[in-house]
Protein backbone atom coordinates (compact mmCIF):
# COMPACT_ATOMS: atom_id res chain seq x y z
CA UNK A 1 0.00 0.00 0.00
CA UNK A 2 1.19 3.50 -0.84
CA UNK A 3 2.17 5.91 1.91
CA UNK A 4 -0.70 8.44 2.09
CA UNK A 5 1.54 11.02 3.78
CA UNK A 6 4.04 10.90 0.91
CA UNK A 7 1.21 11.06 -1.65
CA UNK A 8 -0.04 14.34 -0.20
CA UNK A 9 3.47 15.61 0.60
CA UNK A 10 2.90 15.75 4.36
CA UNK A 11 5.09 14.99 7.34
CA UNK A 12 3.95 11.66 8.79
CA UNK A 13 2.26 12.42 12.11
CA UNK A 14 -0.89 11.31 13.87
CA UNK A 15 -1.76 14.84 14.98
CA UNK A 16 -1.54 16.25 11.53
CA UNK A 17 -3.17 19.47 10.42
CA UNK A 18 -6.30 18.11 8.77
CA UNK A 19 -7.13 21.45 7.16
CA UNK A 20 -3.70 21.45 5.52
CA UNK A 21 -4.14 17.85 4.37
CA UNK A 22 -7.51 18.71 2.87
CA UNK A 23 -5.95 21.71 1.07
CA UNK A 24 -3.24 19.49 -0.41
CA UNK A 25 -5.87 17.00 -1.52
CA UNK A 26 -7.92 19.74 -3.17
CA UNK A 27 -4.95 21.38 -4.92
CA UNK A 28 -3.56 18.08 -6.19
CA UNK A 29 -7.00 16.90 -7.33
CA UNK A 30 -7.47 20.13 -9.27
CA UNK A 31 -4.07 19.82 -10.94
CA UNK A 32 -4.77 16.21 -11.85
CA UNK A 33 -8.30 16.77 -13.11
CA UNK A 34 -8.91 15.19 -16.57
CA UNK A 35 -10.05 18.58 -17.98
CA UNK A 36 -6.54 19.89 -17.49
CA UNK A 37 -5.05 16.96 -19.35
CA UNK A 38 -7.30 16.87 -22.39
CA UNK A 39 -4.36 17.88 -24.60
CA UNK A 40 -1.97 15.31 -23.09
CA UNK A 41 -0.98 11.96 -24.57
CA UNK A 42 -3.18 8.97 -23.60
CA UNK A 43 -0.37 7.64 -21.43
CA UNK A 44 -0.11 10.94 -19.56
CA UNK A 45 -3.88 11.08 -19.14
CA UNK A 46 -3.88 7.61 -17.67
CA UNK A 47 -1.03 8.52 -15.35
CA UNK A 48 -2.88 11.63 -14.16
CA UNK A 49 -6.04 9.63 -13.52
CA UNK A 50 -4.11 6.99 -11.60
CA UNK A 51 -2.46 9.68 -9.51
CA UNK A 52 -5.84 11.36 -8.86
CA UNK A 53 -7.24 8.09 -7.50
CA UNK A 54 -4.18 7.73 -5.30
CA UNK A 55 -4.62 11.27 -3.97
CA UNK A 56 -8.29 10.63 -3.13
CA UNK A 57 -7.45 7.40 -1.38
CA UNK A 58 -4.68 9.12 0.63
CA UNK A 59 -7.10 11.79 1.84
CA UNK A 60 -9.72 9.20 2.78
CA UNK A 61 -7.08 7.36 4.78
CA UNK A 62 -5.69 10.40 6.56
CA UNK A 63 -8.99 11.96 7.61
CA UNK A 64 -10.04 8.80 9.46
CA UNK A 65 -8.11 8.44 12.75
CA UNK A 66 -8.26 4.63 12.60
CA UNK A 67 -6.93 4.40 9.05
CA UNK A 68 -4.40 7.17 9.75
CA UNK A 69 -3.18 5.17 12.75
CA UNK A 70 -2.90 2.04 10.61
CA UNK A 71 -0.87 3.92 7.99
CA UNK A 72 1.54 5.14 10.68
CA UNK A 73 1.84 1.66 12.16
CA UNK A 74 2.71 0.27 8.72
CA UNK A 75 5.39 2.96 8.38
CA UNK A 76 6.82 1.74 11.69
CA UNK A 77 6.93 -1.80 10.34
CA UNK A 78 4.03 -3.08 12.43
CA UNK A 79 1.80 -5.50 10.57
CA UNK A 80 -1.83 -4.48 10.66
CA UNK A 81 -3.75 -7.55 9.72
CA UNK A 82 -7.02 -9.08 10.77
CA UNK A 83 -6.61 -11.92 13.21
CA UNK A 84 -3.26 -10.70 14.48
CA UNK A 85 -4.58 -8.11 16.88
CA UNK A 86 -3.87 -8.60 20.57
CA UNK A 87 -6.84 -9.68 22.69
CA UNK A 88 -8.65 -6.68 24.12
CA UNK A 89 -8.44 -5.86 27.81
CA UNK A 90 -11.27 -7.79 29.58
CA UNK A 91 -12.42 -4.74 31.55
CA UNK A 92 -12.62 -2.68 28.37
CA UNK A 93 -14.54 -5.44 26.62
CA UNK A 94 -16.96 -5.69 29.53
CA UNK A 95 -17.52 -1.95 29.34
CA UNK A 96 -18.19 -2.10 25.58
CA UNK A 97 -20.64 -4.97 26.09
CA UNK A 98 -22.52 -3.04 28.78
CA UNK A 99 -22.68 0.07 26.62
CA UNK A 100 -23.91 -1.92 23.63
CA UNK A 101 -26.64 -3.47 25.79
CA UNK A 102 -27.60 -0.04 27.12
CA UNK A 103 -27.76 1.30 23.56
CA UNK A 104 -29.97 -1.60 22.45
CA UNK A 105 -32.27 -0.92 25.39
CA UNK A 106 -32.44 2.80 24.62
CA UNK A 107 -33.48 1.75 21.11
CA UNK A 108 -36.19 -0.60 22.37
CA UNK A 109 -37.53 2.13 24.66
CA UNK A 110 -37.21 4.75 21.91
CA UNK A 111 -35.41 6.86 24.47
CA UNK A 112 -33.62 9.51 22.44
CA UNK A 113 -32.14 11.35 25.44
CA UNK A 114 -30.60 8.12 26.73
CA UNK A 115 -29.21 7.33 23.29
CA UNK A 116 -27.60 10.76 23.01
CA UNK A 117 -26.14 10.43 26.52
CA UNK A 118 -24.59 7.07 25.59
CA UNK A 119 -23.20 8.57 22.38
CA UNK A 120 -21.69 11.40 24.42
CA UNK A 121 -20.00 8.93 26.76
CA UNK A 122 -18.63 6.93 23.85
CA UNK A 123 -17.32 10.07 22.13
CA UNK A 124 -15.39 10.88 25.31
CA UNK A 125 -14.09 7.30 25.33
CA UNK A 126 -13.08 7.68 21.68
CA UNK A 127 -11.29 10.96 22.41
CA UNK A 128 -9.35 9.25 25.21
CA UNK A 129 -8.37 6.35 22.90
CA UNK A 130 -7.26 8.82 20.22
CA UNK A 131 -5.16 10.75 22.75
CA UNK A 132 -3.56 7.52 24.00
CA UNK A 133 -2.82 6.37 20.44
CA UNK A 134 -1.37 9.76 19.58
CA UNK A 135 0.90 9.63 22.63
CA UNK A 136 2.16 6.13 21.83
CA UNK A 137 2.70 6.92 18.17
CA UNK A 138 4.56 10.10 19.14
CA UNK A 139 6.80 8.09 21.43
CA UNK A 140 7.51 5.50 18.75
CA UNK A 141 8.34 8.21 16.22
CA UNK A 142 10.59 10.06 18.69
CA UNK A 143 12.96 7.13 19.12
CA UNK A 144 13.02 6.54 15.38
CA UNK A 145 10.84 3.47 15.67
CA UNK A 146 13.67 1.76 17.59
CA UNK A 147 11.38 0.26 20.19
CA UNK A 148 7.88 0.06 18.85
CA UNK A 149 5.38 -1.31 21.33
CA UNK A 150 3.41 -3.01 18.60
CA UNK A 151 1.01 -4.74 20.99
CA UNK A 152 0.16 -1.52 22.82
CA UNK A 153 -0.34 0.37 19.56
CA UNK A 154 -2.56 -2.34 18.11
CA UNK A 155 -4.59 -2.46 21.33
CA UNK A 156 -5.27 1.29 21.19
CA UNK A 157 -6.28 0.96 17.54
CA UNK A 158 -8.57 -1.94 18.46
CA UNK A 159 -10.23 0.17 21.18
CA UNK A 160 -10.85 2.89 18.64
CA UNK A 161 -12.60 0.39 16.38
CA UNK A 162 -14.91 -0.71 19.21
CA UNK A 163 -15.76 2.95 19.84
CA UNK A 164 -16.36 3.57 16.14
CA UNK A 165 -18.54 0.50 15.85
CA UNK A 166 -20.66 1.66 18.76
CA UNK A 167 -21.04 5.14 17.26
CA UNK A 168 -21.95 3.72 13.82
CA UNK A 169 -24.56 1.53 15.47
CA UNK A 170 -25.95 4.52 17.39
CA UNK A 171 -26.19 6.54 14.16
CA UNK A 172 -28.11 3.75 12.45
CA UNK A 173 -30.44 3.42 15.42
CA UNK A 174 -31.04 7.18 15.52
CA UNK A 175 -31.85 7.32 11.81
CA UNK A 176 -34.18 4.40 12.21
CA UNK A 177 -36.09 5.64 15.24
CA UNK A 178 -36.09 9.40 15.39
Amino acid sequence: MLDPFATLGLEPAFDLDLAEAERRHRDLSRALHPDRHSQSTPADRRAALGKAIEVNEAWRTLKDPIRRGEALLRRLGVEVEEGREPKPDPAFLMHVMEQREALAQAGRERNEARLEALVGEMRAEQARAIAALSLELGRAAANGGASVHAAALLSRLGELRYCQRFLDEATMLRDELF
Binding site: G83, L93, M97, R100, L154, Y162, Q164
Partner: protein, 141 residues
Protein backbone atom coordinates in the same frame (compact mmCIF):
# COMPACT_ATOMS: atom_id res chain seq x y z
CA UNK B 1 -22.62 -10.60 0.25
CA UNK B 2 -25.22 -13.32 0.43
CA UNK B 3 -25.68 -15.14 3.69
CA UNK B 4 -26.30 -18.87 3.67
CA UNK B 5 -29.78 -20.13 4.57
CA UNK B 6 -28.54 -21.49 7.88
CA UNK B 7 -27.04 -18.13 8.84
CA UNK B 8 -30.29 -16.35 8.03
CA UNK B 9 -32.24 -18.95 10.00
CA UNK B 10 -30.13 -18.38 13.13
CA UNK B 11 -30.03 -14.64 12.58
CA UNK B 12 -33.81 -14.28 12.27
CA UNK B 13 -34.56 -16.82 14.93
CA UNK B 14 -31.56 -16.95 17.25
CA UNK B 15 -31.53 -19.65 19.89
CA UNK B 16 -30.67 -19.01 23.52
CA UNK B 17 -30.33 -15.25 23.51
CA UNK B 18 -30.03 -13.85 27.01
CA UNK B 19 -27.97 -13.83 30.12
CA UNK B 20 -27.21 -16.01 33.13
CA UNK B 21 -26.12 -14.59 36.49
CA UNK B 22 -22.38 -14.18 36.13
CA UNK B 23 -21.94 -14.20 39.93
CA UNK B 24 -23.48 -17.68 40.17
CA UNK B 25 -20.70 -20.20 41.00
CA UNK B 26 -22.12 -22.73 38.52
CA UNK B 27 -22.05 -20.20 35.67
CA UNK B 28 -19.07 -19.60 33.41
CA UNK B 29 -18.93 -16.41 31.34
CA UNK B 30 -16.93 -15.92 28.18
CA UNK B 31 -16.57 -12.42 26.80
CA UNK B 32 -14.72 -12.00 23.53
CA UNK B 33 -14.30 -9.34 20.91
CA UNK B 34 -13.08 -8.91 17.35
CA UNK B 35 -10.71 -5.93 17.35
CA UNK B 36 -10.78 -5.81 13.55
CA UNK B 37 -14.46 -4.91 13.40
CA UNK B 38 -15.52 -4.05 16.94
CA UNK B 39 -17.94 -6.95 17.39
CA UNK B 40 -18.53 -8.22 20.92
CA UNK B 41 -19.89 -11.59 22.01
CA UNK B 42 -20.86 -12.94 25.43
CA UNK B 43 -21.47 -16.66 25.92
CA UNK B 44 -22.47 -18.17 29.26
CA UNK B 45 -22.85 -21.73 30.47
CA UNK B 46 -24.46 -23.29 33.53
CA UNK B 47 -22.63 -26.46 34.52
CA UNK B 48 -23.91 -29.19 36.84
CA UNK B 49 -21.90 -31.26 39.36
CA UNK B 50 -20.90 -33.83 36.74
CA UNK B 51 -19.48 -31.15 34.46
CA UNK B 52 -22.34 -31.21 31.97
CA UNK B 53 -23.55 -27.96 30.45
CA UNK B 54 -27.22 -27.69 31.39
CA UNK B 55 -27.92 -24.29 29.91
CA UNK B 56 -26.21 -21.84 27.60
CA UNK B 57 -27.02 -18.26 26.67
CA UNK B 58 -25.43 -15.70 24.43
CA UNK B 59 -25.61 -12.06 23.47
CA UNK B 60 -23.76 -10.88 20.38
CA UNK B 61 -23.44 -7.40 18.97
CA UNK B 62 -22.14 -8.02 15.49
CA UNK B 63 -22.96 -9.14 11.99
CA UNK B 64 -25.33 -11.94 11.01
CA UNK B 65 -22.54 -14.50 10.84
CA UNK B 66 -21.34 -13.64 14.35
CA UNK B 67 -24.88 -13.97 15.72
CA UNK B 68 -25.44 -17.25 13.86
CA UNK B 69 -22.07 -18.64 15.03
CA UNK B 70 -22.82 -17.93 18.68
CA UNK B 71 -26.42 -19.14 18.40
CA UNK B 72 -25.22 -22.43 16.89
CA UNK B 73 -22.47 -22.70 19.51
CA UNK B 74 -24.97 -22.52 22.39
CA UNK B 75 -27.14 -25.18 20.73
CA UNK B 76 -24.19 -27.51 20.27
CA UNK B 77 -22.74 -27.23 23.77
CA UNK B 78 -26.01 -27.75 25.67
CA UNK B 79 -26.01 -31.24 27.14
CA UNK B 80 -22.30 -31.76 26.46
CA UNK B 81 -19.62 -32.26 29.09
CA UNK B 82 -17.33 -29.21 29.32
CA UNK B 83 -14.37 -31.31 28.13
CA UNK B 84 -16.25 -32.26 24.99
CA UNK B 85 -17.60 -28.74 24.43
CA UNK B 86 -14.07 -27.39 24.72
CA UNK B 87 -13.04 -29.47 21.73
CA UNK B 88 -15.49 -27.80 19.33
CA UNK B 89 -13.51 -26.22 16.51
CA UNK B 90 -14.34 -23.07 14.63
CA UNK B 91 -14.04 -25.01 11.36
CA UNK B 92 -17.02 -27.16 12.39
CA UNK B 93 -19.12 -24.05 13.01
CA UNK B 94 -17.98 -22.45 9.74
CA UNK B 95 -18.80 -25.61 7.84
CA UNK B 96 -22.24 -26.04 9.38
CA UNK B 97 -23.14 -22.43 8.55
CA UNK B 98 -21.38 -22.34 5.15
CA UNK B 99 -19.48 -19.25 6.17
CA UNK B 100 -17.53 -17.56 3.37
CA UNK B 101 -13.78 -17.00 3.96
CA UNK B 102 -14.27 -13.34 5.00
CA UNK B 103 -16.61 -14.46 7.81
CA UNK B 104 -14.45 -17.25 9.21
CA UNK B 105 -13.33 -14.93 12.01
CA UNK B 106 -16.93 -14.98 13.32
CA UNK B 107 -16.68 -18.71 13.94
CA UNK B 108 -13.27 -18.17 15.56
CA UNK B 109 -14.95 -15.71 17.91
CA UNK B 110 -17.59 -18.32 18.83
CA UNK B 111 -14.94 -20.97 19.54
CA UNK B 112 -13.03 -18.46 21.69
CA UNK B 113 -16.22 -17.62 23.55
CA UNK B 114 -16.93 -21.29 24.39
CA UNK B 115 -13.34 -21.83 25.57
CA UNK B 116 -13.32 -18.66 27.60
CA UNK B 117 -16.66 -19.51 29.30
CA UNK B 118 -15.34 -22.98 30.21
CA UNK B 119 -12.10 -21.46 31.49
CA UNK B 120 -14.05 -18.99 33.64
CA UNK B 121 -16.15 -21.82 35.08
CA UNK B 122 -13.05 -23.97 35.78
CA UNK B 123 -11.38 -21.11 37.61
CA UNK B 124 -14.47 -20.55 39.73
CA UNK B 125 -14.73 -24.25 40.56
CA UNK B 126 -11.02 -24.47 41.44
CA UNK B 127 -11.33 -21.45 43.72
CA UNK B 128 -14.34 -23.02 45.47
CA UNK B 129 -12.56 -26.33 45.94
CA UNK B 130 -9.51 -24.58 47.38
CA UNK B 131 -11.82 -22.76 49.76
CA UNK B 132 -13.62 -25.99 50.72
CA UNK B 133 -10.29 -27.79 51.28
CA UNK B 134 -9.11 -24.93 53.48
CA UNK B 135 -12.24 -24.74 55.59
CA UNK B 136 -11.82 -27.95 57.70
CA UNK B 137 -8.18 -27.12 58.40
CA UNK B 138 -9.17 -23.69 59.67
CA UNK B 139 -11.97 -25.19 61.74
CA UNK B 140 -9.59 -27.72 63.35
CA UNK B 141 -7.32 -25.01 64.75
Amino acid sequence: MAYSEKVIEHYENPKNVGALDKEDPTVGTGLVGAPACGDVMRLQIRVNDSGVIEDAKFKTFGCGSAIASSSLATEWIKGKHIDEAGRIQNSQIAEELNLPPVKIHCSVLAEDAIKSAIEDFRQKRAAQRALAADAPATAAK
